[in-house]
C-alpha cells in the first residue's frame, strides 16, 4: 500500500484543503488579484488611537510555542473533542501572535507607517485581529467549520503580505537603518510562518476529519505534516518546478540538470511545503547563476549540472545544493541575507537580464487592481530579492538552518539543515 501511494506523488498540495495552487511556492507567484482597499484615513483617526486599547491584553500575553512532534501526536487519531480543542487553541493563539506584530508595526517610525504598502499590511493585520477576537468559544463542529472558512478567507487575503511588506520596506530603507529593517522583517516573517502553520494545520485536520480523507492519517499525512518525506521526491519535484521557472524566465533556454545523491531515501517527518519552498529557492538560484554564467562543458556543450547531496545524521538531515555558476559577486554577497534595498542589490538586479525593470514591477505591485499577467508576478517574485532570507526563516523555524558559501569565480554551495526528531520548539521572537 505505501508503495502505490508514492507513485501518486504525495505532494503537500493534495493533502491540504486548498486548491492545488496553495502551497507557498505558488502563493508568491500568484498573489490574490483582488486587493482589499483599506478604509481610507482610518489609521489616522483618533478613534483608532483609542481603540488600540483592545490590543493591550493580547500584547501582554505570552505565546505558547509548539513542537512538530506535539502537532504529530495531537493530529493522529483525530476525534471531535480533539478537533474542537485544536480550534480553540488556534482561536486564542492567533490573536496573541498577531497582536505582538501589530505592536511592532505601531513602533515603526511614523514616516514608515505612512508608506502605502506598509499601511496595507498593517490594515490587513488589524482587521484580522478584530475579526478573530470577536469569535466566542467554539463548541460544535458547525462552529468549527465556520471558523475554518473565516480563517481560510484571511489566509487568502493575506497572500499579498510578503510582496507588499518587501516592497514597502525596500522603499523605506532610507528612513531606517538596514540592521533594524532586517530585524523587523525577520520577526514579521517568523511570526507569519508560525501563524500560518497553526491555521493551515487546523484547517487541514478539519477537512480530513470531515471527508473520507481522514484515512490519510494512517498513511502519514497529519494535516500539513507528512511523516514519510523522502528527499528524492522533494528534490525531483522542486527541481522540475525550478527548471520550468528558469526556462520561462530565460525565454526558452534549457536549464542545467540536477544530479542527486546521498541518502535520498531517508525518511523523516516535516512540513513538505517548507522544505519545498527552500529547495525551490536554492535550485532556482543555482540554475539562474549557471545559466547566466554561461560556461559550458567543452565536449558536451552542456551547462554544468547542479549537485544535490542528501546527508542524514542522527539528529538532522542536510540538503547540500552545489553549483558551478561562477560564485556570488562580492557586492551581492554582503547583501545576501538582507531585506533592505541597497545600491548593490539594485545593481545586481539590473545585471540580471531577465529582470523586468524595477519601475515597471513597482507600479504593478502597488494598489492597482488591474489584473497583471501571472508572468509579471512570477518575474517579480524572482526579483523581490528576498527568497534567501525567507528561506532561512523557514529553515530556522524548527531548529534548522540555512548556510550559503560561495567560491568566487567557481560556484556556490548551500546547506539546508532540518531537525529529524521534531522536538524543537517553534523559533519565533516574541
Amino acid at each position: 500500500m505505501p508503495n502505490s501511494n508514492l507513485n501518486n506523488a504525495p505532494t503537500a498540495i493534495t493533502t491540504s484543503a486548498f486548491s492545488p495552487q496553495s502551497s507557498p511556492l505558488f502563493k508568491m507567484n500568484n498573489p490574490a488579484s483582488i486587493v482589499k482597499q483599506p478604509q481610507a484615513r482610518r489609521r489616522y483617526s483618533p478613534q483608532h488611537f483609542y481603540q488600540n486599547r483592545i490590543l493591550d491584553p493580547y500584547v501582554h500575553q505570552a505565546v505558547s510555542p509548539i513542537t512538530l512532534r506535539q502537532l504529530v501526536f495531537f493530529g493522529r487519531n483525530m476525534q471531535e473533542d480533539k478537533l474542537l480543542k485544536s480550534a480553540n487553541y488556534v482561536r486564542t493563539e492567533l490573536p496573541i501572535r498577531l497582536a505582538h506584530r501589530i505592536r511592532d508595526f505601531q513602533n515603526l517610525p511614523f514616516i514608515v507607517g505612512t508608506n502605502p504598502h506598509i499601511e496595507l499590511v498593517y490594515d490587513l493585520y488589524w482587521q484580522a485581529f478584530e475579526k478573530i477576537v470577536k469569535i466566542p468559544e467554539i463548541k460544535t463542529l458547525e462552529e468549527n467549520d465556520a471558523f475554518c472558512e473565516m480563517i481560510k478567507g484571511l489566509l487568502n487575503d493575506h497572500l499579498v503580505v510578503i510582496p507588499q511588506l518587501a516592497l514597502g520596506i525596500m522603499e523605506c530603507s532610507k528612513h531606517i537603518p538596514a540592521a533594524q529593517v532586517d530585524q523587523f522583517m525577520s520577526k514579521m516573517l517568523r511570526s507569519r510562518i508560525s501563524r500560518r502553520v497553526l491555521a493551515e494545520q487546523h484547517i487541514t485536520l478539519t477537512s480530513n476529519f470531515n471527508s473520507p480523507n481522514h484515512m490519510m492519517t494512517d498513511r502519514g499525512y497529519i494535516g500539513i505534516i507528512y511523516t514519510h518525506i523522502k528527499p528524492r521526491d522533494i528534490v525531483e519535484r522542486t527541481g522540475l518546478l525550478a527548471a520550468d521557472t528558469c526556462r520561462q524566465a530565460s525565454g526558452g533556454m534549457a536549464p542545467p540538470k540536477v544530479l542527486l545523491d546521498g541518502n535520498i531515501d531517508a525518511e523523516f517527518t516535516y512540513i513538505p511545503d517548507h522544505i519545498e519552498y527552500i529547495l525551490y529557492e536554492l535550485l532556482k538560484n543555482s540554475m539562474r547563476f549557471v545559466m547566466q554564467n554561461g560556461k559550458r562543458d567543452p565536449t558536451t556543450g552542456e551547462l554544468p549540472p547542479i549537485q544535490v547531496t542528501v546527508c542524514e545524521g542522527t539528529h538532522e538531515i542536510v540538503f547540500r545544493v552545489s553549483d558551478k555558476g561562477g560564485g556570488i559577486h562580492p557586492e551581492m554577497e554582503s547583501q545576501l541575507w538582507s531585506y533592505a534595498q541597497s545600491p548593490a542589490r539594485e545593481a545586481a538586479m539590473l545585471l540580471d537580464r531577465h529582470a523586468p525593470s524595477r519601475a515597471q514591477s513597482a507600479q504593478k505591485s502597488s494598489f492597482s487592481t488591474t489584473a497583471s499577467s501571472p508572468q509579471q508576478y512570477k518575474n517579480q517574485s524572482l526579483h523581490l530579492g528576498i527568497g534567501l532570507p525567507m528561506s532561512r526563516v523557514y529553515a530556522e523555524y524548527w531548529g534548522g538552518d540555512l548556510k550559503v558559501f560561495t567560491m568566487h569565480g567557481y560556484g556556490t554551495d548551500a546547506y539546508a539543515k532540518f531537525c529529524k526528531f521534531g522536538n524543537i520548539y517553534e523559533n519565533f521572537d516574541d
Binding site: 541518502n263 531517508a266 547531496t309 542522527t314 542536510v318 567560491m407 568566487h408 567557481y410
Partner: protein, 471 residues
Amino acid sequence: MTLRSAGSSLAITATKRGFITNTEQKEAEDVVSFYDDRVTQYASQEIQTVTLKTLLGLGRSGSSNHDQQQGAARDLAVNLDVARYARKELPVRLARLIKATQKLPFIVGTNPYIKRVYKLYYDSFQSITASPEEIRDKDDLDRFAALLKGLVESHADVVPMLSQGFLECKKYMAREDIKRFLDDMIRARIGIRLIAEQAISLREQRHEHEKSSVDTPHDDIVGVVHTELRPADLIKTCASFVQELCDVNYGSSPEVVINGQTDTTFTYVPVHLEYILCELLKNSVRATVEQSQKMGRSALNPHGDGSDRRSSSTNRESGNGVVIVNQDDDQDVTKRPNDFGHPPVEVTIAQGEHEVTIRIRDHGGGISREDFDAIFDYSFTTVKNENDSSKDLSSNDSPYGVDSIFKGVSRLAMQAGLGGPIAGLGFGLPLTRIYAQYFGGDMHLISLQGYGCDVFLKLKQIDESLDDLQI
C-alpha cells in the same frame, strides 16, 4: 623555594616525556627577576605597525634583469629598511608578549611548558636588545640576520609547548580566558615571525643573488612571499605528506583529488598556506580512515556494512529528466573509493578577483553535535591523551583501541615530522583559523553529520589592495 621544587618535579616529568632535557631544566629555573624594568619599558612603547607593502618590499619593480647593479642596490636598501624596522620593533612586540604572559595566574606560570615558553621569549628579548641598535651596512645586516635566524629556530616548538601547558592547566583558568590569551599570543607570534623571517630571507636571497654569477631572476619570491604561488602544487605536497603520516598510523589512507581551477596562482606566504593545508588535510584524512573503520569500509567492501544508507541498487539512474539520481560512485572520481575502500578527499580551487578559495570535502562522517561547539577550542581533541587525567575530553573512539604495544611507537610517530603530529594536541583548528584570517581571509567549517565535512578557506591575494593592511 617554589622554583627548586618545581625544578625537581620537572626533572621527573622531563625524563618521562623526553621533551625537556636536563640542561634546559636549569635554565628554566633562572626565571627573570622581578626587578627587571626593561620589559616594562619596552612594552609601554607603541607598536609601530608596518604596512604589508613596506614589509614585503612590494612595489619595487620586479625586473632587475637588465640592470643587476641597480637591482642589487635596491634589494640592499629594502633589506636594510626591513632589518632596521625589525631591530626597532621586535623588542616592543616581544616585551608586550612577555608582559601578557606575566599576567597569567601564578600557578599557570609554574607549569614547565609555559615557563619554558616564557623563558624563550625573554631570552630573545635580551638578545635582540643587546645587539647593536644601528644597522649600517651589509655586515651588520648579516650579523643581525644570523641572530634572528637562531632565535626563530629556537622558537619552533612554541605552539606545541603552549598547547601542552594549557592542557595541563585547564582547571586553573576559564576556557574563554585561555582562548583569549592564546588567540592574542598566537597572532602576536605570527606577526613577530613574519617580520623576523622577512628580514632573514630577504638577506639570504640577496646573498644568493650576489653569489651566483648567473643572474637568476627570483622575482616571484620576495622574502617569505611568493608572488606566483600555485596552490595545486602545495596541496599535492601536503597531501602526500599527510597520506604518509596516515599510512604509518592507520595502515592506509584515502586519495586526495584536486580539481577546479587548478592553474590558479596568487601571491601569498607559502609557509602559512602549507600549515593550513596540512592541518585541514590531516583532519579530513584521519576522519575518513576512522569512518571507514566504523562503517566497515574496506577493499572488499567499498560501501561498508548495513550502516551505509545507500539504496540497494547501485548504478541506478532514474529521475524525471531534470533531476537525475546517480548512486554509482565508481563513475565519479570525487567519490570512487580507492583500493582500501576509502572515499577520496576532494580539494577544489577557485580563483576570484582578489582572493583564492579552497574547498576541502571529505566523507569522514562529520562532527557530532556535542563536539562541534568545542572544535575551535584549544586543547580540544578526540584523541585520547594517556597523561590526561581530566575526563571531560569528549571522545567516542580512540584510534588505538585498547593498550597495545604499538601505542607508544605510533604516538612518537605522530609527534614526529614537520608541522607536528597528525592529531592529538588540539590546537590545529583554532590555529588554522587564525592563520587564515591573518591577511583578511577566513575559514568556515560545515559538518554534515553522518556524511562528512566541508571546509571553505578564503585567502586574500597579497597585492596592492592589501597595501594598507597593518601587521
